[in-house]
Every structure is written in C-alpha cells, then in structure tokens.
Symmetry: C2
Subunit: 458 residues, 2 copies
C-alpha cells in the first residue's frame, strides 16, 4: 500500500518538495496530493512588481509549472482548496473549497477531510499590515499573489495619478519603481529613517538619493497613522507630518510567516513567528510533518540565530530538502546568510551576511571598509559608479557582511562576497582570490577585491 | 645610508612594487629608481583594444598614474631607458637611452650603469609571432603597447577596409571586435579549430558562432604561412587554404614572457619561458633579485604546475607582494587559477580553473555539467541566454573549472565560480551557498548554482 504525502501550498516550497519526492519515489509507492487555496501553482511572487510595472505582460509568464504539468508527474493538485485545520493526532487535514473565489479569500465551499502519512506545510507568507484603520478599503493593495497583481493592474487601467507605497524594503522599492514606470507620481512613506533597513545607513542613504532622483517623494520617519477613506475607497495616507493623496496605496512593508494553521494545530512556532523545523525540514515534535519556505523559521549560518526570510530560492531549496528526505535520502538545509539583491531604476542594491546593526546585536566586534569604484574600467564607456561596504570581524578579519549600491551591473557581484562569507574567508584570503578582470567588466581590481584588500591592510 | 631599489619596467608589476615599497619605507631609507624603455608608466595594456575600437578616445585615459605622480612619492622614473644587461655579481644594470624613439625600439642613445641593493625585473611580455615571413612589413601591428595602439589608430585614419587578425585568443577577439566597431571587414585566421582555446570545444563553438554572427569571417585550422608584402606594405595573409587581402594585419596570438634579459644575466628561466621566482617573488638563486608580472613563471594553484599568464591583476598583486617583502614585511603570492573574462560584441566569455584538456593533462578524472539558462528571470525583458559549464573531480566532486559563454551580464558571474574553486568547494557545497536572486538579475536558481546542483546530483 502506498504512502500519501499531503502538501499544503502549491508554490515554490510545496511544489519543489512534490517534484523531488516524486523523482525519488514512483506513484505506486507515494501518492502526492497538493492543496492550494488559489488558482495557480509554482509562480514567481518576486515577479509581480515587474508585471505591475509592465515589463512582464502576462501573469502566465510568471508560472514556472502548471497544474497540468504536475499532473503528468502523477502529482495531484487541488486548486481552490484551503486547508482549514490540521489534526496531528489523527493525521488529517480539513480542507474547504474556495471555488468561485479566484483570490482564495473567504471559505464558503464544501469541506472534506484528507488523511496523510507525511505532511508538508508550505503556507508561505502574508504581507505585514500596519495597525491602522482603513487598510481594508478598496484601493489598498498587497503585492504578494497573482490576484494582488491583477487587482493593481486593473486599478492602473483607470489611469490613476498618484500612488503611496507604505514601506521601503525590497517590495516597497520594486513596487515604487513599477508605479513610476507606469507614469504615476509616487510617494514612499516609511517608518524608518531610510529605505532598505537591512543595509547600513551610509548605504541606505545612497538608495534614498537614487529614489529621490527617480522622482519618488521620500517620506522617512513617518510611520503611517491611517488611511483616509471616502465611500469605501482609499483617498490618502496620513502620517504625523501630513496627508498624502493617493489614487492607490500599496503595502510594501514586507511579509511575515503564514504560520497560523501550524500554530493552531499545536506545532511549535519560533520567535520569528516561523514554524520551527530542523535542518531536514522536519518539525521537532512530529517527525512525519515537514514545513518549508516563507512560513518557517530558518537559521542564520553566521550567528546561528533563528531568522525568518521570505525568498524563492530558499523556499525551493528547503522544499527540495524535505522532498529528498521524504524520498528516502538524507538531505539538510545549510542555513542562510541573508543574501539579497534588488534594484530601483538604475540603482542596484545587493547585501549579504550581517549588517553593522545585526553584527553588533550578535555581539561581534567589527570593522567596516567602504570602497567607491566603477563597474567597468574607469576609462570604459558607461562605467557607472558603485560603492562596496565590507564588514569584518575585528580580531580575525573574517568577512561577516557585504553591501553594494551602484549603477547597472554592480549588484550581482554580491554573490562573490556571499560565497566568501559562506566559506568563512578572511579579508586577506579573499583579496588573494583570482577573480576576473577585463576593462568592460571591472577596473584592474574589482571593487569587492579592493574592499577586501583595504580591510586586510589595516 | 639608504638602499637602492632598481626596477626594470614601469608598468603594472614594476610600479605596484615601487608604490608598495615606498609605502613601507621612506625615501631616506630606500631610494627607488625605475627604468622604463617607453614613454609611459602604469597604463592599461588591456585597454588598448578599446582605444583602437574608439570606446576610449585618448591614450591618456589608459594611464593609471603618471611619472609626475610617482615623482611626488619620491619614486624616480627614467623614461626612454632600456635595460640592456644585468650583472648579478656586480649588482649593476646597464641602461641605454632610447630618447628620440617614442616606441622604445632600437637603442641608439647613451649608456650608463646603475648599481642596486635590490633589483626588481618587471619586463612584461612580448607578442607571439608566428615563424613566417613578412611580419616586419608596415601594416602589421601588435596590440601590446601604447605605441602599438597609436600605430593602429594612425592606420585607421587612412580608412582601411579589410583587416586580418591572426589568432583567436583574448587579444584576437578584442581586436577583432574593435576593428568591426571601426567599420572594417574582419577575417580571423587561427591555427586552432576554434577561437578561445582555453575553453572546451562546446563552449568555443558558441564563441565562434557569435563572432560569425557579428560578421567576422572565421578561418579556423588555417595556420598562417606568410604575409604578402608589396613595396614594404602588408597586403594579404596567406594560409594553406587561401590568401586573405588585408589593409592591416594584427597579431592576436597572445604573448610570451619577456625574460630574455633575465636569462642572459644567468637567472633561471622556467619551462614556460617565464623567470623562476618563489612565492615571495624572489628569484631562487639571488635573494636580492625579484621579478613579477607577465615576465615570470607562476604557479597554478589547483595543479601546482608552472604557468605563464599575462594579466594586469596578477602583475599588480605580484608587484605588491615583492614591494611588501622589500618593505620588510612578509607577503606571499598565492598562485593563479586562470580566471579570465572578455567579450566580443554582445557575447561575453568567462573561464576559471581547469578546462577539460588541462584537467586531463594534469591527470584528473573529471565530469562535466552543462547548463543553459538565462541571465535574468526568463520572463524579464532582455533575458539573454547563457551557458555555464562546470568541471568537477569524479570521486570527490570538488569543483575544478568553470566556463561561461552568454549574453550581456553573464560573464562576471565567473567570479563566483572562481571563489568556489579557489576555496576547494565541492559541487554540493557550492550548490548550498546563499547567492542572490531577483528577477532582473537571475532566474530563481542562477545558472552557476544550477550547474553545481546538477553536478552534485549525479
């Protein structure tokens, strides 16, 4: 008799788990059954700002693999099926149909109960919502799901003039860029003094300047106090400093793990609000129950501290680790170091490892090194500027963090720093690495190498 | 009484040695005296193709630091001074003035003899010349020095129509691109079956296709047999297959270490024709004599085998290592892994570590993994294609080499592979590294990560 793997959530973590488990165990040995509240599987949440911005025309482009493609792998997908309750003792999940409601909201349809031998929880993340009134009004949008993107695109058809974005993290930046691209006047309202709070201040200032140069009105240190609503429609965003008229308001405050279902079932939830799992993606209390992706609590590889981080790559890797273990082979997730990259207009941003604040909070004594250089040889055409900041541990010179802000072609070199930090190189060791040089690609010493050399030379 | 450091060669290796030695020892303690046969110091040889191509307008742009700037550091530069003979027993160098000859050729001026306490040999490289007749004709050019670049630029003023480039390595590719950019019909004649012989064949084929698509006529497997000369002027390049008319002929066959002066002095020359030095850049027989840059034999960090490699970054690093040791602090050069990057038109090329041929010659049993992917998320606009090839050791899965050929934005990720190979990661270890993702920068799994995952999954 075959086992049944039940998966809650048909996006990155859930479906990479499904695919990997199927690769290792045939349909006669393992039945795989996926409940997805929405109408899509395996799509790129991260692509939604670019769909809103018009760089991507069709939602279908964002879909990596359709339900039909999964069906071909003998993976059953139940679209419009919201998991309502997990009974860990009985080994069952109660699921309710959301049919007729493409957004997956509500829960009016029929309910049924499915048994499992193994359960995978991949419920993703939900947008952070400030504790203010008016957020439920029409004209206030998230940027998390395909229905969110559809709703913003419909709103754009009415040719709105002004948008207010709440928050200046990755999503805030990307949606601000998208709305500027669509010709709107954009105001970014943020509680922090600077956008990109995961950067050090001197780097965040560069991002802020770039956003201002794009014509975005920046309103730092102004936490939102409320949304002005007229006839059910959002009209303005109110802070202590003023009221910013808005034809549309977008939530760019980041996300939190969507762990309520797991918590209600009695699974352990960490300090980050993510579901607790070990490196095999198993929950510590129930060895048949796995969780992966944006809904879990993972581990910072540098500090060892718990961390909740929503990113498609981690979700994919973690789902694959779970699927490998379910498939009968040992696999472990090695943690994260917080590598991320984004852009706003021509300003690219990369970061990895610890920021100064994070390093200090973790008790490290650090030194920082800032290098300003060019993306290509200085004499080569269009050699945009970039700044690289390196954080090293004071006594060991071990690299702990890196940040890049610069012109086109600058940010992806964060991966070199990420690899060096991952492998615990010192600045001197990294400064010796034979990395590439040619005038169209960098000065003789790439800014990342130069930063390491400067850090090592103290 | 102060020591005297005599440096032969005022480019990357020589001048980084000078700067670093001065940083550590003041002028009262160390006199620094540089002999440079030409009229320039510290310029970017690698930038010359882009000066020829017109992306760089002025030779002055290629100069990192002028003789006057060095004079401010109490570093004496003797321009137009060719070292003719080193007497290791006497500790002297005989130098002859080349004044009146900007190219530094010949040697008709006055001669003098200078003593040294420490000697640094940084004589660089000279272009490889095929053993055929006609190479000394007018209209045959190297791409090695500023006078070479000036000569080609002067030739371009006469509005030539057809150029033949001999060789398909880095310089061959770059100068072919430059001449296409200048509107010439370009034929590349090469002895090998494919351009970029430091790549595997399947990757070289991609480069060849890109060059053909640029309108370059590729003539592989046709070693040059001679240059047709009329009235002292090159008119065509002759191979076994045909005769290719040329208004100008450019040598792009690569370079060899310019080690003749050192050899004549009795210093040891390696199998690669480079001057033998240890990791401190000292010659093994004369501890007061150092050498660095394109003229030396260095060490491949992976195989431990000797290697001659001409690249500004290594020359700079090696010069700095020599300067640090001369300055009284210990420093070592950690070897190279052959990382390089270039482009021809929109085709970018990166390589690091061992190619299949190199790995097999060194006795490794290897596996190769090829991944075809996109530079950005597949749905993002202008997501050019790229191919990544990974070489891993069969039994250990240790990464030994990487190659990238692809569209704009692809090649610089060779640095991530270089860092992983440098630190001896296995494919599985590298596949776990937290590298960045956002749709404008890569698919969810960057091609380099995907290649590692595929290699690890065998």
């Amino acid at each position: 008799m075959s086992d049944r793997l039940l998966i809650i959530g048909g996006n990155a973590a859930g479906m990479s788990c499904a695919s990997q488990a199927r690769r290792l165990r045939a349909a006669g040995d393992l039945e795989i059954d996926v409940m997805e509240a929405g109408q899509w599987t395996s799509y790129s949440n991260c692509g939604i700002p670019y769909w809103v911005g018009g760089q991507v025309e069709e939602a279908e482009s964002l879909i990596a693999r359709s339900p039909a493609a999964f069906a071909d792998l003998d993976i059953k997908i139940r679209l419009g099926s919201r998991a309502e309750r997990i009974d860990l003792d009985a080994g069952t999940v109660t699921v309710r149909s959301t049919v007729g409601n493409r957004g997956g909201e509500g829960g009016e349809g029929a309910s049924s109960t499915l048994g499992y031998d193994r359960l995978m929880i991949a419920t993703g993340a939900v947008p952070l919502r400030p504790p203010v009134e008016g957020l439920d009004a029409d004209g206030v949008f998230g940027v998390q799901t395909i229905p969110d993107g559809e709703a913003i695109r419909r709103a754009l058809e009415k040719q709105p003039k002004r948008a207010v974005v709440l928050g200046g993290g990755y999503i805030g930046l990307e949606i601000a860029e998208a709305l500027v691209t669509q010709g709107l006047s954009v105001t970014v309202v943020l509680a922090d003094p600077l956008p990109m709070a995961s950067l050090d201040e001197d780097m965040g200032e560069r991002v802020c300047a770039a956003m201002t140069a794009l014509g975005i009105e920046m309103r730092p240190c102004e936490p939102v106090r409320g949304i002005e609503v007229e006839s059910g429609l959002a009209r303005a965003v109110v802070t202590d400093e003023g009221s910013y008229p808005a034809d549309l308001v977008v939530l760019g405050l980041g996300v939190r793990p969507n762990s309520d279902l797991a918590r209600d079932a009695g699974l352990r939830i960490g300090t980050t609000r993510g579901i607790e799992v070990d490196d095999t993606m198993r929950t510590p209390t129930h060895e048949q129950v796995y969780a992966a992706g944006d809904c879990i609590q993972t581990r910072n590889r540098i500090t060892g501290h718990p961390m909740a981080i929503a990113l498609g790559t981690h979700a994919n890797r973690q789902g694959r680790v779970a699927g490998t273990n379910i498939g009968g082979r040992p696999a472990r997730f090695d943690g994260v170091i917080g590598t991320a990259v984004t852009k706003v207009g021509n300003c690219e941003i990369g970061r990895t490892g610890l920021s100064t604040k994070e390093a200090e909070q973790a008790g490290y004594s650090i030194e920082t090194t800032l290098v300003e250089s060019t993306v290509k040889a200085g004499y080569y055409p269009d050699a945009g500027k970039l700044a690289v900041k390196l954080l090293t541990e004071k006594h060991t010179q071990r690299m702990l963090g890196g940040q890049i802000v610069g012109g086109p072609g600058s940010a992806k070199r964060i991966d070199v720093l990420a690899t060096a930090i991952w492998t615990q190189l010192t600045a001197a060791e990294f400064a010796s690495v034979d990395i590439s040089y040619a005038p169209p690609f960098s000065p003789v010493f790439d800014a990342v190498a130069l930063a390491a050399r400067k850090a090592a030379g103290r």
